[in-house]
């Protein structure tokens, strides 16, 4: 059984000798010193259960020693002896935490009884503390085992370890799988420089040795380890390093890292018991760290899988889209031939009938008009289909976007006027020219403007903005905004508006190809289109059209796109 350790402090030699002799050497280890400074020095170097101190001593009093001890190690018991007892000093001593206050001259039996009681109480306190530690350990294990974020997990383990061994500084070093070096995963009381620059090869220094051998090391004094006292990391004389051993990995590479503890609050050395406690925590911590690592890996795998699935979906959609496009193209060509020819015959026929019979009153003029309108309607569907299938062929040339938009506005002005829609233009002064197919772009802008006007049957505003990209996009793209104050597009419909044949218009009013054509044309120009809409407030389309050539290479304001003069309208 371990002996209880008692330190006696008294400036009187006779008292020191008396007390050293009084206690049974088999049960107690008793040392004696002559002044308070020697006592404090001794306590810092070694661990004692009890201090018996004289109250009145030269330089430092017994009361000061008591105060000092209680501040660094509240579990160490103190009995005060004095030849000059006063009520005040007795009360103060008890307040600070002295176990007993004994007056000189004292009865030896009285002293023995006091010491026995005192040590009994201390054991009870220590057991209480141990229970507290175990409870803390249990609680920590519980919280640690459910943490999945490695950074916060390491911080939590470290704080728990510091709490258990009552230390101020510490770190968790993790073993780098590739370099087989230890780096700082979490730290308390270390400088950022140390945290960032520490790389300890396995086998080097205390932590390196612990990591290599997988066994804890307890250093009670710096003198035991050469170089430790001068280490930039720690300025202490006691050091505890515990390995974090994997439960899953093979024995060769089963060290995850180490937990280092130093700078004990009591300034005493770390104890064997603390080493054991910390080893228990390290066992739990290792499992938690591995779980967190697995969780993180799993998370990243799930993320990658998610991205892959997204990409696959996207590719699949693109494939479906291009298949659809190809099909529509072929269909359009075939349908155009098969339907427009009979339409030509119907139109010719009805015109013939009109000329010959209407005059004679043999045919209703309104009926003739209806036939003609139906021919137009059927033809428009074919025209849209053809346009849709034509967007793949680009004839690029230098196009001034502002001039092109002016073309479009001249085409829609009349409709806007009739529907009481005010057109507000805001073009920057720059001659924003891009390399593009003017006919297709005109078509795209026209479709967007017509849709905007259609969305404002009771009038409103159509805002057209053109400006150059800002910041990193300066000289890289031109931005065209087409915004209306119309009905807006409901959220559930918004993702579908560019789908071919998707329309919200009444039958016969639209083919559902207008926005798909816009989308396709812009896609061919490597442009993007974004849409923002709020029901009842309006819709804004933002087109980002890249300059395909440096601006200075493009003829400013030059546009030689052909007018429609070469054909009949």
């Amino acid at each position: 059984m371990e002996k209880d350790r008692i330190l006696v402090v008294d400036d009187e030699e006779i008292i020191r000798q008396l007390l050293v002799r009084t206690f049974d050497k088999d049960r107690y280890h008793v040392e004696a010193v002559g002044d308070a400074e020697a006592a404090l020095k001794r306590i810092k170097g070694d661990s004692f259960n009890l201090l018996i101190t004289d109250l009145k001593m030269p330089k430092v009093s017994g009361m000061d020693v008591l105060r000092e001890i209680k501040s660094v190690n509240p579990y160490m018991e103190v009995i005060i002896i004095t030849g000059y007892p006063t009520i005040e000093s007795a009360v103060e001593a008890v307040k600070i935490g002295a176990f007993d206050f004994i007056c000189k001259p004292f009865d030896l039996e009285q002293m023995k009884t006091a010491v026995t009681r005192c040590l009994k109480k201390q054991k009870f306190s220590i057991n209480h503390v141990k229970l507290g530690e175990l409870t803390a350990l249990f609680e920590i294990s519980k919280t640690v085992s459910i943490s999945t974020d490695i950074k916060s997990l390491l911080a939590r383990i470290l704080d728990s370890a510091l709490e258990i061994v009552k230390a101020r500084k510490g770190s968790i070093l993790l073993c780098d799988e590739n370099t087989r070096e230890l780096t700082v995963g979490a730290a308390r009381g270390l400088s950022a420089e140390v945290i960032n620059n520490t790389r300890i090869p396995l086998g080097e220094g205390i932590a390196g040795r612990v990591a290599k051998e997988g066994k804890p090391i307890l250093v009670s004094g710096a003198e035991q380890v050469p170089g430790l006292r001068n280490s930039s990391r720690y300025e202490t004389n006691s050091f505890l390093s515990i390995p974090l051993v994997s439960k899953y990995l093979d024995s060769q590479e089963n060290i995850l890292g180490v937990i280092n503890m130093t700078d004990k609050i009591s300034q005493e050395s770390f104890t064997e018991r603390e080493k054991t406690l910390l080893s228990v925590l390290a066992g739990q911590a290792a499992v938690a760290i591995e779980n967190a690592n697995i969780y993180t890996q799993l998370q990243s795998k799930i993320l990658t899988l998610g991205q892959t699935i997204d990409q696959l979906n996207q590719t699949q959609n693109q494939l479906i889209q291009s298949e659809k496009m190809a099909a529509v193209g072929q269909l359009a060509f075939g349908i155009a031939h098969e339907i427009r020819n009979p339409l030509g015959i119907i139109l010719g026929g009805v015109e013939f009938l009109e000329k010959n019979l209407v005059k004679k009153g043999g045919i209703n003029k309104e009926a003739v008009e209806k036939i003609k309108q139906s021919v137009d309607r059927a033809n428009n569907i074919i025209v849209d289909l053809l346009k849709f299938s034509r967007t793949s062929e680009l004839e690029r040339q230098s196009v001034n976007i502002r001039a092109l938009m002016e073309d479009v506005t001249s085409l829609i002005e009349n409709q806007a006027y009739l529907k009481d829609v005010r057109i507000v233009k805001n073009y920057t002064d720059n001659a924003l020219s891009v390399l593009a197919d003017p006919n297709l772009l005109r078509q795209a802008f026209f479709n967007l403007c017509i849709n905007a006007i259609d969305s404002m049957p009771k009038g409103g505003g159509l805002r057209l903005n053109i400006y150059s990209g800002q910041g990193a996009q300066a000289n890289k793209e031109v931005i065209i905004e087409i915004a209306d104050t119309g009905k807006g597009i409901p959220k559930d419909i918004l993702p579908r508006i560019f789908e071919p044949f998707f329309t919200t218009k009444e039958p016969g009013k639209g083919t559902g190809l207008g926005l798909s054509i816009v989308h396709l044309i812009l896609e061919r120009h490597k442009a993007t289109i974004a849409v923002e809409s709020a029901v009842g407030k309006g819709t804004k389309f933002t087109i980002r059209l890249p300059f395909s050539l440096p601006v200075d290479l493009l003829s400013e304001g030059g546009r030689d796109d052909k007018k429609k003069e070469d054909t009949l309208n």
Binding site: I339, R340, G348, E351, V383, T567, N569
Partner: protein
């Protein structure tokens, strides 16, 4: 009395040809002759020397652009103005340069109303007269 302009319509759609002839001839200024195949059209053009040819593009055996090439290469027919009439193109889709490349003067998309067709024929004939005067 002004001589009626002779228009040769080369198109494989017989009913379409019939309706166009009815409407153009009813207008009083045109005489319309018809060929439903490219080769037949070329022969008719050589024999009849029409004032203008309306030419379909998508036809069996010989396509419209091949017919055009044959007509242009023949001194007897090379000066006859050609107007392409087809269901597969869009209004404004083909530029003047491209039409000239294949020897045409104009592209008209089907279906076309008679008024437009007559106006187009007259425009081309007027241009042709001016060209001849200048040269």
């Amino acid at each position: 009395m002004i001589r009626k302009k002779k228009i040769l319509l080369i198109d494989d759609e017989e009913d379409f040809c019939f309706m166009v002839r009815q409407n153009l001839e009813q207008a009083g200024e045109f005489e319309v002759i018809i060929a439903n195949r490219g080769e037949e059209g070329i022969n008719l053009a050589r024999e009849q020397k029409p004032d203008l040819i309306l030419l379909d593009i998508v036809m069996p055996k010989m396509m419209g652009d091949d017919v055009a090439a044959a007509l242009i290469s023949d001194p007897k027919t090379k000066n006859i103005p050609l107007v392409f009439l087809t269901a597969q193109v869009l209004e404004g889709e083909i530029g003047v340069e491209s039409i000239k490349e294949i020897g045409g003067h104009l592209f008209i998309a089907k279906p076309v109303n008679t008024e437009k067709l007559i106006s187009a024929i007259k425009t081309v004939l007027r241009e042709k007269i001016n060209e001849t005067k200048i040269s």
